[in-house]
Symmetry: C2
Subunit: 462 residues, 2 copies
């Protein structure tokens, strides 16, 4: 017998409708369907969706959920790629989107205090208006929320210089199952009193509690930035190019790469500012003061030239945006090759990226599929897209087999099966290949400390 | 009855002498005395000291210690300021100083792999030889170890730009009570598989396990740096000066301040490059490419001039070292005022530093004692030195009373009782004023997951 409530009773429905009046509680099948999936395509119908507007509602709700052994799935914009927000055991989805106030952007304390449902780009804009900067920028930044970003420890383009989301979290207010409220950390930039619970919550994927207020660290907004798109004859040269930049003492704010198949896919529909014979490319950005940026660009260009690129474009402002359009076009362009893809995000030690990409290409060939590799070279985080046709059964099977081999390849290089997407449902079966039995047991025991009845985001194999 | 072994029996001694042959096991009173204290002055005699050289020894040892319910105190150079390494319940001190190999400094992966007993400055030098940079630099960097730095989540001068020690930890191999070995994280710069156990170990003060191997993130070594020492008429102007620098878009690598009493204490014995009427000073550093640094210095100087400083010295290389000598002279100079001090390290929201320093001065006056404030303005981390004469009983009492009021003042400003030293023995009684009953219980429960018998660094009130 499951330890969870088997269904949502009439009494449960009445409780939820009462606690979340008007359209704060969704029970209709059409309404629920909207909350059944995330960007992974995984899908499971929740029994109810609730939309809290206050911390007090979250407390009452989690008190009830714990008593009722109700599976609970925190959710914001549903942009996750691995099914972490999918209510795989039914239960109640909690949409945090109505808790969407920016409470403070503070130029003296260099912090922002926000509710979890704030879209990260909106937070960044509010910061920029005061010449402040919140650096983490997952690709989804314009649509995903700060709560979701912290729950998943979102990565992004600028992690090579600025770190990932967890590095910017100073304070978390969260409600635990049973309704206890924790105020972890706060506005102090340094704090070493006790275990670092707030960092444990970052990346915990809603398994420990629900966020109700978040405090993040800010820095001064860099005055200027510039970008360089540089093409190479082959992948190995592009890796050498990146090494030359770092060796020249430049820490780029972004250091992206794309392989030959990725460039080809873009070319199938778009003109791009890369030489025709480019079989690999780097897209680098530096930021800082205008004069510092000018100096770093000169140094970066000199370093790249030493590796004999086939083309190089430098730009700032609108010109830089045109270069970044190439990066942004990768995902839509990939579907020119095949209508479907498995989009993975392995991460490997930085020096092994070339080897990992070559191995991914081989794996694709062995499975009769085209594999595109691109992503965050600067931190070893490779997006591996295994292109296939979902209507062709043996391609689907091959793609899934290839994905398994890609994961094992990453692990064999000392890497990880996920640099930024998480494991959710789609990688659940691989977690035990990366983590030891001891680690998994310790993680389960830690979750049990916060959530003794296991109601928070259950069914994810973690 | 205590849950711990009441003493070290002959059989225990024989086991330890066998596992740690030659001088690997210390049992003589003179030998043990060396390991009884740390830089806090707190003191308690251990029953034995062991000096492992291999992970296997650590495993065997922690298997035995768990069975025997033996209190265990990990220790490196004993530079801690709060008694965290002091064996307050007796038991066995584990000196990690013989595990002191730099195993890898890797220019391709941008990581270093080290044993815990490596002195942090030695690691930094090994990195610098390859044009790589490990930024965290606690004041003790020349004598303290990377293992101790990670165990305490050491802060330091450069945290304002580069973050604290925990932000640089990629992988931790640790042995748990009972002898299980955990390999958490590794050489990947990004990893979001499972809860972030390695960051939980960072700052856990030896309460979860003993480190045997550590992997830290590196970046390219900045080519250049420059420093500015600037004097102001009063504390409020110095705070305005720092604000002006940040407002100008400069993120300094270090942003230190010192108050009037601190400047006076230095002047009692040294000539310093500050105008005679300086009643507060800032010491700022920027780093990066040479041209970037030049540009940032110009901008910083312009920003500071807008606040009408009374003096300003700019330097790089040896000239900068002369400016930093002022900072380094603070601690020895303070004893010109009184022979003893309570040296605290509160942290407050950055914008409240001026208010906190003024309050600390008031508290000193009310207790008839001189209080010096200096430290890491950039991250709100203030070193408060309460000067007194330890031979005069009522001064000692006043100093301790003043310390209590300083802690409560920090908490009332939304700050913390420790930005980087930790709480150990000296602040143990204040932990419950900062952390809630729920947080304390959760932390205890998490420690119980790793250390069910509570043998790791017990007796610290945390």
């Amino acid at each position: 017998m499951s330890k969870y409530a088997p269904s949502l009773t009439k009494a449960h429905q009445a409780f939820l409708s009462d606690l979340f009046p008007h359209d704060g509680c969704v029970l209709s099948p059409e309404g629920l369907a909207v909350f059944s999936a995330d960007a992974s395509g995984e899908r499971a119908m929740p029994w109810a969706v609730v939309r809290p507007e206050t911390r007090e509602q979250v407390q009452e709700f989690l008190k009830w959920a714990d008593v009722e052994r109700m599976p609970i799935y925190g959710r914001a914009r549903g942009t996750g790629r691995v099914g972490s927000a999918v209510p795989s055991l039914g239960g109640v989805v909690v949409s945090m989107l109505r808790m969407n106030q920016i409470l403070d952007v503070n130029e003296d304390d260099f912090v922002a205090v926000v509710q979890p449902g704030v879209v990260t780009a909106d937070l960044q804009a509010a910061c920029a208006a005061k010449q402040l900067f919140y650096p983490p920028d997952p690709a989804s930044v314009k649509i995903s929320t700060i709560g979701g970003n912290i729950a998943t420890c979102a990565g992004g383009l600028k992690a090579v210089k600025y770190g990932v989301t967890r590095d910017w979290v100073l304070g978390i207010e969260a409600v635990l199952p049973g309704g206890r409220v924790l105020h972890m950390g706060g506005r102090s930039h340094k704090d070493v009193v006790g275990l670092d619970l707030k960092r444990l919550f970052a990346g915990s994927n809603g398994t420990l509690g629900l966020f109700t207020e978040l405090t993040v660290k800010l820095i001064p907004l860099p005055e200027a930035s510039a970008s360089v798109l540089v093409g190479f004859f082959d992948l190995a040269s592009s890796m050498e190019g990146a090494k030359a930049v770092f060796r020249a003492g430049v820490l780029p704010a972004a250091c992206e790469f794309m392989d030959g198949p990725t460039i080809q896919a873009i070319r199938m529909g778009d003109d791009i500012p890369l030489a025709d014979d480019a079989q690999a490319a780097l897209l680098l950005m530096v930021d800082g003061t205008q004069k510092g940026v000018d100096a770093e660009v000169r140094r970066m260009v000199a370093a790249l030239e030493s590796v004999h690129p086939v083309s190089m474009e430098v730009g700032s402002g609108a010109e830089a945006e045109a270069l970044w359009d190439v990066r942004r076009s990768i995902s839509p362009s990939s579907f020119r090759i095949k209508p479907d893809k498995l989009a993975e995000d392995i991460s490997v030690p930085r020096g092994s990226v070339g080897q990992a990409v070559a191995a991914a290409h081989d794996i694709g060939r062995e499975h009769g599929l085209q594999v595109l590799c691109f992503g965050h070279l600067g931190d070893g985080n490779i997006h591996v897209s295994i292109m296939h046709d979902g209507a062709v059964q043996n391609e689907v099977e091959s793609a899934h087999l290839a994905k398994d081999v890609v994961f094992r390849m990453a692990l064999s290089l000392g890497g990880t099966i996920s640099g930024e997407h998480g494991t959710g449902l789609t990688k659940a079966s691989f977690v035990s290949e990366q983590l030891s039995v001891d680690e998994l047991q310790l993680m389960a025991d830690i979750r049990h400390v916060f959530d003794p009845n296991g109601i928070m985001n259950p069914g994810k194999g973690l």
